[in-house]
Symmetry: C2
Subunit: 307 residues, 2 copies
């Protein structure tokens, strides 16, 4: 089932896809996909079946899309998780490295990405995202997929300019029992992602969450990214370095996962035959429309505006 969140007459409502063009609106008790996944499966599935039979229809082209989960407890993003990356990595962890994107950065399908000149370069990062249905701590890899409610699309917008600005080259304090004052300095680099990953509108997400029963294998999905109709990336989730089960299990052994949490699996990187790289799509300079499509899930499309 394809489930999304929309705004209708000032209220947040849930819509289920009937066809490419038509959606069915669920009763008002369902206010976003989180409210669906928190209710018993028999209950919301029955509500969806009833709505399919007799519920109000909307034209999807006119829908005012919202992020599927209105305000996730966290949006956890895996960095450098494509099998194409190791060639570029001189040193790094053998486990998933992650950062948190604030919920205030999320926008729905078709809503504008709003950029300012001072953001510097901003490029798209097309990614598969997981929506957690049942929370947990220390989830075993073999149980991990049972904690997944469904899959969606996220465009993990990134400003490499702000990333460079928010990187420190500094002398970190390390303990040193042999030193008089007990410490020594170690030259290090550290970077902080709140701005370059978390600025307003840097998290287009949706339009659909596809329930996990409708995704036979999350690691065999074609994923593409286009800018103004030109194909930039043509990759497949088969190229993820760490799998969904590995990431859910590893993350949950440090950060308790909660129902409604979103995990972005990392950027699809493989260039399309048309060439280029996502890093060449500087949205601040180019404007236009950026689109991420994942086989079996849908297409997330957002125009770029200057703010």
């Amino acid at each position: 089932m394809h489930i999304g969140s929309i705004e209708q007459d000032g209220d947040r409502r849930v819509v289920v896809r009937e066809s490419d063009d038509v959606g069915v609106v669920l009763p008002a008790e369902y206010t976003d996909v989180e409210s669906v996944l928190l209710s018993p499966a028999e209950r919301w599935r029955e509500a969806a079946a009833t709505a399919m039979h007799e519920g109000p229809r909307i034209a999807l082209a006119d829908a005012a899309w919202l992020p599927p989960v209105h305000r996730p407890g966290k949006v956890l993003c895996v960095a450098l998780n494509n099998s194409a990356n190791p060639d570029r990595i001189l040193s790094g962890p053998d486990t998933p490295a992650m950062f948190v994107k604030p919920s205030s950065s999320l926008i729905g399908h078709a809503r504008p990405i709003r950029l300012r000149a001072e953001f510097g370069r901003v490029h798209p990062e097309p990614e598969l995202a997981v929506v957690i249905g049942r929370g947990g701590t220390d989830i075993a890899a073999e149980d991990a997929l049972s904690h997944v409610f469904g899959y969606t699309i996220i465009n993990d917008l990134t400003s490499p300019t702000m990333r460079g600005e928010d990187t420190f080259h500094y002398r970190a304090i390390h303990p040193d029992p042999t030193a008089d004052d007990g410490i020594r300095y170690v030259e290090s680099w550290v970077s902080y992602p709140a701005r370059y990953k978390g600025t307003d509108t840097f998290g287009p997400i949706g339009p659909w969450v596809v329930t996990s029963d409708d995704i036979r294998d999350p690691h065999s999905l074609r994923i593409t990214c286009s800018h103004d109709g030109r194909l930039v990336t043509d990759d497949n989730t088969a190229n993820l370095r760490f799998s969904v089960a590995e990431v859910v299990s590893f993350a949950s052994s440090y950060l308790t996962l909660e129902a409604g949490d979103v995990i972005a699996m990392g950027t699809a990187l493989k260039r399309s035959a048309a060439g280029g790289a996502v890093q060449n799509v500087d949205l601040t300079a180019l404007g236009g429309v950026v689109e991420v499509a994942i086989e079996g899930i849908g297409t997330l499309s957002n125009p770029v505006q200057r703010r």
Copy 2:
């Protein structure tokens, strides 16, 4: 006024400080400090006055403390924001650098910090935190303090071991119009903070939020950190590099601030006369109790357990 969140008979309730030992419980409609700051000031202040007159009392020593805001939209943390830092910084931004700590990492006063051997070194970071009362975007510095509901204490626990593990030395892709494929590689370092800053229990916070009318100047407060009764840090919020107003204004020009958001202002660093540095307090090895106190706000104390 000093306002906190507690658990009582399985419910979340709000408590107001009457004395060092006694608190007054507000009516059940107030479920955490966010529910207070979202209600009109006249209304909750009248409820507090009525409770002071005739509400139920509790012994604060027995309270089951919760994070003041149950589930903040975001916990935004400023890095390297102490005037003692510039000596150590070889290069870095002239504006506040920030990261996001997930709400799942927060714990209340007196709750245990739970550590595992594989977390490596873990040290405390004593910090003043701001609770946003009124959200906004592009807040001017001169208006910024009017958006602050109050001030609290956060211990921004950090694992430098996991920070090192989650740092990549890699070849970043930069656009290059002169190259055949339009890109070139630039050797870079990037680090991701979800684990080393966001692991469960890495965010002790509270016990009190002190409303801003009771804090004449947030930049003249003594702030100390002790481990097992030994004073490690003895600093003052006068040593913050970027002020509360500057941080609120700057952050809001990138990330919309929402009511209930928490901003951690950065670590107090100045060593006490007893010597040492917070980096020498390796809680994974030492265990014990870690305490952060801020003048006029209170004392946040948490025991360390092995998980």
